[in-house]
């Protein structure tokens, strides 16, 4: 399927694009934010037969039920949790290894490769959609390209990737789950990883250079939602 040629059905008299950003006064809950990125992501997947979606956040009943109800197959892998567990294990191992064992002192890139030997292990082109949320903000700079490379390989040609980028250091650690077809719920959670970096727009474009096209939505809370099509 050629995503670029996909056309939207016209809806006369209906404004299609709601204002981006978190809901405020009209919001039933302050931690629900309108997500044009999600809306676009779902639209891109809407005609895909046997659609497979990979959620890189924690498993939530609401997210699973949402996609299941659409007939999609959902896979979840909390990559950030896996990453922090991996770091903890490695640090412990390094602490206990003998000082003369220089082979244990590896670069961050090798560290990242070692991490990916046990994470994101899926066949090539497996998924039509990947929800990365703000995952990339929390990885070390050397590891981000490796993770991106892996995500790119498991994404089906024409598939969509939704990622969020903070415009400033995240004040709180949040997890995300799908509330409905155009909004996500932010859940303040115990911090499991420190916000590592703020991506500049140019860096994002470079990072996703292999993708065919991209769309960015900036919310009122300055969180950038980026949708990339492979």
């Amino acid at each position: 399927m050629n995503w670029m040629t996909k056309t939207r059905p016209a809806a006369p008299g209906v404004t299609r694009a709601p204002k981006p950003g978190p809901l405020t006064a009209a919001s039933p809950s302050a931690n629900i934010r309108i997500s044009n990125g999600l809306k676009e992501f779902l639209w891109q997947l809407s005609d895909t037969p046997n659609c497979r979606v990979l959620d890189l956040g924690p498993v939530w009943q609401s997210t699973v039920a949402f996609f299941v109800d659409k007939g999609y197959r959902v896979t979840t892998e909390d990559v950030l949790r896996t990453w922090t567990d991996f770091q903890t294990t490695e640090e412990e191992r390094r602490r206990t290894c003998s000082p003369e064992d220089e082979s244990e002192r590896i670069s961050q890139t090798v560290f990242g490769e070692k991490f990916l030997a046990g994470a994101l292990q899926y066949p090539e082109h497996r998924f039509h959609g990947v929800l990365a949320w703000d995952l990339l903000d929390y990885f070390d700079a050397e590891v981000v390209p490796l993770v991106m490379e892996r995500i790119f390989s498991i994404l089906h040609p024409g598939g969509a990737l939704l990622a969020l980028f903070h415009s400033r250091s995240a004040e709180r650690f949040h997890r995300y789950r799908v509330a409905d077809s155009q909004s996500v719920e932010l859940l303040a959670s115990p911090t499991i990883a420190v916000h590592a970096r703020v991506f500049r727009n140019r860096e994002i474009l470079d990072l996703f250079g292999k993708f065919r096209s991209s769309k960015t939505f900036v919310g009122r809370d300055q969180v950038r939602e980026a949708l990339f099509l492979k």
């Binding site: 924690p58 498993v59 939530w60 009943q61 609401s62 699973v64 039920a65 949402f66 299941v68 109800d69 007939g71 999609y72 197959r73 959902v74 896979t75 979840t76 892998e77 909390d78 949790r81 896996t82 292990q121 899926y122």
Partner: protein, 206 residues
């Protein structure tokens, strides 16, 4: 059909093999099943009237998981390690370790918070509060508790996921010809982890 090997009758001879006495009530264990010496004594599940004085010292977590188990359930207690295929009709509670395969298609399998299972589980109802590496096939339902850690795929018509659960695996759904009534609609409603959400599912292995 459940195959019952002659060796499996081990489970019905509690007096001869006290360490295996927790397998009973229709659960069979294969000849390859092994138990390993444990630091804790293992004894037969006491009768209902004697349950106020547990034979095996139980942690709070164990007590919690046992409370949800119907009387008559077979049990792999904390400290026990089982390898092989477990099949039968009895409900099963795993607070220890199990490796191999668990097939109790007409019964309920509960993995307690101290339970560690490296096996595919097939049961009528599956409740996970511990750690599982393997695929889950719940004929009626699967519940992933808040302390559950599951690496594998989930296949079930009804799935409940408590906040805090960790699943690394897939859920693939299949719509059945069942009429879409109120229960089917529940899949799209706001999450209430106390409610089993119907998810007509089958899962691909990763």
């Amino acid at each position: 059909m459940w195959r019952k090997s002659a060796d499996a009758k081990l489970s019905s001879q509690p007096s001869e093999t006290p360490s295996m006495s927790r397998f009973g009530h229709g659960t069979t264990a294969p000849s390859s099943l092994q138990t390993q010496a444990t630091s804790q004594p293992v004894s037969q599940t006491p009768p209902q009237s004697a349950q106020t004085a547990p034979v095996v010292p139980a942690t709070a977590a164990q007590t919690t998981s046992r409370e949800s188990i119907p009387s008559g359930a077979s049990q792999i207690g904390a400290g026990l390690k089982i390898r092989g295929e477990i099949s039968g009709k009895s409900d099963l509670n795993v607070d220890g370790e199990a490796q191999g395969k668990i097939r109790l298609a007409e019964a309920r399998v509960t993995v307690g918070s101290t339970g560690r299972v490296q096996a595919d589980i097939e049961a009528r109802e599956i409740v996970i509060n511990g750690t599982v590496e393997g695929n889950l096939k719940g004929v009626e339902s699967v519940r992933l508790g808040s302390s559950s850690r599951v690496q594998g795929s989930v296949v079930t018509p009804r799935l409940a996921i408590d906040d805090g659960a960790r699943l690394r695996g897939s859920v693939e759904t299949i719509r059945t010809s069942e009429p879409r009534g109120s229960s089917a609609k529940a899949t799209t409603e706001t999450v209430n982890s106390d409610v089993m959400h119907p998810v007509h599912a089958h899962v691909e292995s990763e």
